[in-house]
Subunit: 139 residues, 2 copies
């Protein structure tokens, strides 16, 4: 039976996940990419090279992150967080976020934590401030 998840359940699913699908709107067109992320307080943290999603999010900050956990065709859960993109440019915040992301994803390129404004780093660190979470599951 498919049923809606409570906010608490949906949030817990996102909190436990590591890879999600980020949705944004690029020039009016939906765009989806897989990302490694972490949830902390009411925000989802991601680090990324520049590219289409970053250009899109700078232009239109509305974003979502969909996360699923599939046991089999009949036992699965999917949650989605909706929110707004904010690029993290403050040095201390950026270092804090990068440290936490790299602790969770040590296999990722160990991007330098140099200040973003010195022009040496092409890595963008951003958060999505969560405004709403929903989810559905079948079990």
């Amino acid at each position: 039976m498919i049923r809606p998840m409570s906010d608490v359940e949906a949030r817990a699913l996102i909190e436990a996940g590591r890879i999600g699908h980020l949705g944004c709107v690029a020039d009016g067109t939906p765009y989806v990419v897989p990302v490694c992320y972490l949830l902390s307080d009411d925000a989802i943290y991601v680090h990324s090279l520049g590219g289409r999603k970053i250009r899109a999010l700078r232009q239109d900050p509305r974003a979502c992150l969909q996360v699923e956990e599939i046991e089999d065709d009949y036992i699965w859960r999917s949650a989605i967080a909706f929110g707004r993109f904010e690029e993290i440019t403050d040095d201390a915040d950026r270092r804090w976020a990068l440290r936490r992301l790299l602790a969770r994803f040590p296999q990722l390129t160990p991007v330098e934590s140099v200040p973003v404004h010195d022009g040496q780093s092409s890595v963008v660190v951003f958060r999505i401030h969560i405004e709403k979470v929903t989810g559905v599951c079948e079990a």
Copy 2:
């Protein structure tokens, strides 16, 4: 090394896949859901119960389907098809699409193939006409 995929590679990845992440724009906000799909000719076929994505796609037909294949953190491929939603309401087309979808996904609820306009079926069958395909991979 991360590199762009050719159109042919990206399309082959989508053709081989079974589950993708459908992106659409719901009331101006990006929305992402996992879907079972099949690619045939220049369209992606999906069947679904009604709900938010269907309401969104009826309002704004721009859609994308992102598909990935991950071997490990360093060997992965991700492709995305951009296109336009079209609901399939013609009885013969609908039966054809449902037959193919159920042949590919026999585990899915065996939704009836009754005509959509007789009010008995809550299952929506739709295609996304592909306009463009891109992809990136790391290997």
